[in-house]
């Protein structure tokens, strides 16, 4: 089981690095779906004792939402918006991958220094969770397309989810439901907004959304 957990964590890191370096949005959506599945499987792998049934239920919900519904919604938004690629991100792809590697180093460094009240199932969990969080944040601020920003938000949430699944599952269900609800509704609402942005400007480039700032007479 421990080997499986580590494998899933390593795959999460690798897929994130691929995400940072690619420009095709359908590839983004596939990777996000794969990450959702990995996170779901991870939840099962982490809990063997009393919590196993709850973890399994959570994993199923997570698989359905993160690897099923969300990618479907996003793909539909992509089709409607006629967008295939991320164009001219604020930070280039090579530089993005480099930033990802640096973030990984930072996450490992920080993860090793955090004192855990109880031993984690794998020493990789905290660094990977932090790394996903940072990558998601980076994607949100460095990409132009609304769709890509939503995908970045999903990666960020996966990071939080990994942490929660590993350490907060003893808490009543509401905490984990919160993640799923959040992911679902955030993308849902954002998806609606995206289609409006699209109708309004004939593109989903958020660089169009830069008019509201301090007035320069």
């Amino acid at each position: 089981m421990a080997a499986g957990v580590d494998l899933a964590l390593v795959l999460l890191v690798l897929t994130s690095l691929v995400l940072l370096g690619s420009s095709r949005i359908d590839a983004y959506i596939r990777i996000a779906a794969a990450q959702g599945a990995l996170v779901g499987l991870l939840t099962v792998g982490l809990h063997t004792g009393d919590l196993a049934p709850r973890a399994a239920a959570l994993a199923v919900i997570s698989l359905v939402v993160k690897a099923g519904i969300l990618p479907w919604l996003l793909r539909r938004a992509m089709r409607e918006a006629h967008v295939r690629r991320e164009v001219e991100p604020y930070v280039g792809y090579a530089l993005s991958v480099l930033a990802g590697v640096l973030a990984l180093g930072f996450a490992v460094w920080l993860g090793a220094r955090l004192p855990m009240p109880r031993p984690a199932a794998s020493p990789l969990i905290v660094p990977v969770a932090l790394f996903l969080f940072l990558v998601g944040l980076f994607l949100i601020v460095s990409r132009r397309k609304a769709l890509t920003q939503v995908l970045g938000y999903l990666v960020l949430e996966n990071g939080i989810f990994v942490f929660g699944a590993a350490f907060a599952l003893e808490e009543p269900m509401i905490v984990e439901l919160g993640v799923l609800l959040d992911a679902l509704v955030a993308v849902f609402v954002m998806g609606i907004t995206i289609s409006h942005i699209n109708r309004e400007f004939d593109s989903i480039d958020t660089a169009h959304l830069s008019e509201l700032r301090e007035w320069n007479p």
Binding site: P117, R118, I140, F167, A168, V179, D182, V185, V189, M190
Partner: protein
């Protein structure tokens, strides 16, 4: 009782989506707002029993923020009736850029207003950190369609920024919840503490201090984003300036407070665990930073709704500073939360009247408000004087109390910076407001204005203004006792 507070707006919101006739829907909006206010008053008489295993409970801070929310919503709902009546259906021409746009269906708008009220009520009543988080998230989701009422690209941009920035903030707050769960999970073999406020405060000895500190940081930054503390306020001026004025009033007067409550809950746990100074220091820094940023952007501001928005950043800073100072500053902050909400909501509603008559948000193009709109003009001047902290209005008393709190602790540097920033912002805002009020009105405005001063548009801000004035002259004993209870709960006196 708590269940009724939550169910009334939720059920009314669902009904509002289904009701077709405009009149009936508007009547439902005001009726549910009035019912909610009445229930809140009843809660003052008899503190309601806890519900859901103590997850829902009205303690003193919750009661304070619930009362503010309920009162503002009542005023806003009355104003909304007049507002919706004058926003005729069909295409509109945007006065700023001459593009055509339509409005959101009124049923969706009204429904979301009521869901927004339900979500804010849940924020005020939840004692469980997870539930509180869900409630704050719900306020974001319910209010996003409100900001996008006028369907043109500027409001779309504001909504997008609001959703994205607040969602990231809320994600951080969720991480804070998980950190808190780790802190409360106990050392190997010990029992876990549930994430309910009272339980956490009872078992602080078993909390893991470094993780509690990390959790507080996440809550502060996460909910601080939503509260509009600088430098996390990026969404706030856009959302406040682009949404309909009645929504701006609710965002500024009620929603920002709700986010602050999230930070206060975390601070309560930290204080009980003997780490009060850690949180306080951070709150002082964020408070002063917010006031500074607000001062920079208020001075020379060209857009009067943005000016009010930055003033909200300032006053959120004042609240954070007051709580951060501790002692009598906390009492001042609690009183100031009331005063700020009442006067800012009043100002936004009046700004809506001015906007409707002049069809511009530019300070430079608005002249002679007292001539064109006598009642709104008087309220506008009174509101700006009130929010700037001049006597005899309420904010003067609360800002003075916070100043006394700083001086009593010998923190003269902070006191000096606080007073200097308050004075600067007052000069900036009062100057702009007086220029708008006086002078000769531009052509064509007078003819348009006659219909704008309907009772629906005047009485709600006037009632709020009267309340601010009364609070400046005399704080009722019951209210004062309640505020002291809040201050004690938040580690002040």
């Amino acid at each position: 009782m708590i269940a009724a507070l939550l169910l009334v707006p939720t059920a009314a919101g669902i009904a509002a989506l289904a009701i077709r006739p405009h009149r009936a829907r508007r009547a439902l909006l005001v009726a549910s707002a009035a019912t909610h206010a009445l229930l809140t008053v009843l809660c003052w008489k008899h503190r309601p029993a806890p519900a859901l295993d103590g997850w829902l409970l009205l303690d003193a801070p919750g009661m304070l923020f619930l009362s503010i929310t309920s009162a503002l919503f009542l005023a806003a709902s009355v104003y909304a009736v007049g507002y919706l009546a004058r926003e005729e259906p069909g295409r509109h021409r945007d006065f700023q850029e001459r593009v055509l746009f339509t409005n959101e269906p009124e049923a969706v708008f009204t429904g979301c207003l009521l869901f927004f009220l339900a979500a804010m009520t849940l924020v005020a009543t939840s004692q469980h950190f997870g539930l509180l988080w869900v409630a704050v998230e719900a306020t974001t989701l319910a209010s996003a369609p409100l900001i996008y009422f006028h369907r043109h690209h500027r409001s779309l941009e504001a909504t997008w920024k609001y959703l994205l920035i607040c969602s990231v903030g809320i994600a951080l707050a969720l991480l804070g919840n998980f950190f808190l769960a780790v802190a409360a999970s106990g050392r190997a073999g010990e029992a876990r503490t549930p994430l309910v406020l009272s339980a956490l405060m009872l078992h602080t000895g078993e909390l893991h201090a470094p993780w509690l500190r990390a959790a507080f940081l996440c809550f502060l930054v996460g909910y601080g984003t939503k509260m509009g503390l600088a430098p996390l306020h990026a969404w706030l001026p856009d959302a406040h300036s682009e949404s309909p004025s009645v929504v701006s009033a609710l965002l500024s007067g009620a929603l920002l407070n709700c986010a602050f409550l999230g930070i206060l809950r975390a601070q309560q746990v930290c204080a009980a665990a003997g780490m009060a100074d850690f949180g306080r220091g951070l709150l002082v820094i964020f408070g002063l930073a917010s006031m500074l940023v607000a001062a920079v952007f208020v001075l020379g501001q060209k857009d009067f709704k943005r000016m009010l928005a930055y003033s909200s950043v300032e006053h959120m800073g004042v609240l954070a500073l007051g709580v951060g100072l501790g002692g009598s500053g906390v009492f001042g902050a609690a009183l100031h939360a009331v005063n700020h909400s009442l006067s800012k909501a009043m100002l936004f509603l009046v700004a809506g009247n001015i906007l409707a008559a002049y069809r511009t948000k530019a300070i430079g193009e608005v002249r002679g408000v007292v001539k064109v709109l006598p009642a709104s003009g008087a309220l506008w001047i009174a509101g700006v004087l009130a929010i700037g902290g001049s006597p005899p209005f309420g904010p003067f008393m609360s800002e003075l109390t916070i100043l006394q709190g700083a001086l009593a602790q010998g923190r003269y540097g902070i006191a000096a910076a606080y007073v200097a920033l308050l004075v600067l912002i007052f000069i900036g805002m009062a100057g702009a407001a007086l220029r708008m009020a006086q002078g000769a009105p531009p052509d064509g405005v007078l003819a348009r204005a006659a219909a704008r001063e309907s009772p629906w548009a005047i009485w709600p801000p006037a009632a709020l203004g009267l309340a601010v004035l009364l609070l400046g002259l005399w704080v009722p004993r019951a209210a004062s006792a309640a505020l002291h209870e809040v201050a004690t709960a938040l580690g002040g006196s």
